[in-house]
Amino acid sequence: MENFFNLVPLIVVLPAIGLLINLFAGKYLGEKGVSIVAVGASASAFFVSVLLWIALVDTGYKAAVVDMPLLDGWIRIPSAGVDFPWQFRVDTLSVTMMLVVTGVGSLIHIYSIGYMHGDQRFPRFFVYLNLFLVFMLTLVSGNNYLMMFVGWEGVGLCSYLLIGFWFDKPKGEGWKNSEAARKAFIANRIGDFGVIIAMLLTFWTFGTLDYYKPHEEPIHAVAHAAEAEEPVFAPEVETEAEAEAALAPVSPLGVFNQAHLWLEEGGHRVDFGLFTMSLKGTLTVITLLFLLGATGKSAQIPLFVWLPDAMAGPTPVSALIHAATMVTAGVYMMVRSNVLFHAADVTSFVVTIIGATTALMAGFIAMGQWDIKKVLAYSTVSQLGFMVAAVGVGAYSAAMFHLVTHAFFKALLFLGAGSVIHGVEHGHHHALEHSHGTHHDAEPFDAQDMRNMGGLSRRMPITYWTYLFGTLALAGIIPFAGFWSKDEILLDSLKLGTEQGRLDGYIGFALLLVAAAFTAFYMSRQLAMVFWGKPRSEAANQASESGLPMTIPLMALAVLSAIGGFLNIPDGFPLLGSLFGVHELTSWLEHSVVYAHAGSFNLLMATIAVVVALGAMYVGRLIYNDRVLLAVRRDPLETDPRTSRAFALANAKLYWDEFYFKYIIWPFRDAAYWLAEKLDWAFWHDFVHERIIYGSFRRATDLLSGPIDRGIIDRAFNDVGVGIRAAAARLRTVQTGFVRTYALGVLFGAVLVMFIILFPVIRELLGM
């Protein structure tokens, strides 16, 4: 089964083939053909991932590095010691990501068939989706940072293309969509800048960008990171790798093992030419820059602002790219770099604070949104904050665990929201047909506004039940998926505080616990506003359930949301542990994530988390009861004087955009104007170019052309000409036209010649 490893290029090639077919033949295939090609490409990539999984299990989780056929020597400059092969890395971490990306991706492909039905650019949508898979799988499967970055940029491009997919919607809607797309792209570019610099520094420090060289095993510390601050090494490390090290020309070790060995030796300094820096300091800088990239891609403070706007894209896109897969790329990158992050204490502190703050802040904003997708968008930002905070506290397997479960239930929630929007829009059209000619026609209707919904549980039962599963998973109710992963993150951060006395552990725990309460609250609010009670609009009253292509993925994801948590049951949990095994995901990940460690079950912690979640849901249910919603037709928190100010703050998204405009974008624009007008135009153009260069040149040429050229040279030539002309005018009179005059001239000439010839004779005769 080791041969299965050689299949790994297919996971990139298959979606690429799918997209090429749809790109060139999509017009002629019809919706059905396009769907078969796209879903087939995605599903076969999933199948390959499963084969890789089997192969990994079969070979004892030994990571494999596979060269891309034909393209292995991708960038290779031997004389400069630069070698970036396009190698695939099949290890437990990358296969986890592949399974999530292709699995959830395939379900969302199927869903999109129903959701995008009738769209005029149906083939293009699937081309983009397959292109996204190509890049996302390149991102997670590469064996070096450069391949990851290629995928990183590619998914950014797909995100841009898909957010702005409906760029031509009428009434300014399309304009807003394309602006959201640009915002996402630019915010991500800022993060990408960090990744580029971090990669350059990594290459400078380690001489390679490979995670691990082929045939190199990750060096594991004997003791788990949580138990020993300074890792101790196993005695039998890497004789094989060291033997190869002697042969290989440059950088015999990959980045992580090299970092490991140097940290173990201690005292290694990195030479930057002008100065040297300790390895720890360098790693801190590198990881902080990687963190900047992660805040862009994974929507953390300060670059998260693009993600809520990205909901302008079609809902399957929000589910696939902006909830389940692409936005987790930053978390994946940090987990992949866990050796570096583990070594950089300062960065870990910053990561924890950023993650936890983002989780809390986004949860707060989510409570004040009316748009069904905006709530989920901020929820995604918040949950990504959980993952990032988990990385910060060193709970790398918990971060991956939450990444996986979140992919299940957030994809489910987005798809459910898409189904709701679809249903309400249908209801709206239905209602319009029945009340044709009345005032309904002119009224603008927002199918995404939760205030227009209510009572959908009866109209859309499948959507409702699956949505309920997603909600419970997200809120962290036992035994749904979110409970296990969130609990592990909370416990790990608290343990970092209690066991190692680290302040960021306590801060992270406190912020995340409040964020978890917010999560439960806004989800129960959403359930109440969308599904419970009585319909608050005619459209909601006549909404209809979506078709099978949309509901089948919903049901599949609902099952995954319900049982996804059993992947990683903590030890000490009664019954389930013996049923599903303990720490399955962690022990699986341990083979590739050096600092992965398992969390143990803590009854008190779990009870607190569940009680907080249930309490928050109950409070939400109390506030958003049907009577109040129907009576005020507004938000109860908005009208209540005690909470109206906080609600307004949340509803205005804490003024992040306004803050950025006021303190960054407008000053930046003003500075740009100033530079353009004063520096460039007034100083550079008017003064330097016009006055100094052009002016002095002008004066010099004036001097040359005026007095010197015209005054001296021209005058000289002209005067010669005038003189010649005057002389010629006089000489001309000699030409009388009379032959005899000429004859006389000849005579005089002859006499003169004679005289000259005879002059000596004459002189002699005269005796002179």
Binding site: Q735, T736, G737, F738, V739, R740, A743, L744, L747
Partner: protein, 104 residues
């Protein structure tokens, strides 16, 4: 018996007189034929001087040169008279003062 010697100076004097007469003829006469004849006169004045000097020095070079001059004079007459006839035909006049086509 030798013929009485005539001094070379007299020949040269006659030659000079003939030459001056020829020159005056060229400069003063308006009739092209007369100008032409004056030129012949000047040529023959030169011939006379050549012959006189040749006799003076007993050298045949001068007399040889006379033959060349006479040959050229004959060719000149042939061309010159033909020109005059042609000019007379077109202008009905051989007054050389009227021959100034290039001037105006």
């Amino acid at each position: 018996m030798e013929a009485p010697e005539v001094a070379t100076e007299l020949y040269v004097l006659l030659s000079a007189i003939l030459f001056i007469l020829g020159t005056l003829g060229v400069l003063l006469r308006r009739n092209a034929i007369l100008v032409f004849m004056s030129i012949e006169l000047m040529l023959n004045a030169a011939n006379l001087a050549l012959a006189a000097f040749a006799r003076q020095w007993g050298n045949l070079d001068g007399q040889l040169l006379i033959f060349f001059v006479m040959t050229i004079a004959a060719a000149e007459v042939a061309i010159g008279l033909a020109l005059i006839v042609a000019i007379f035909r077109s202008k009905k006049s051989i007054n050389i003062d009227e021959l100034h086509l290039f001037k105006n």
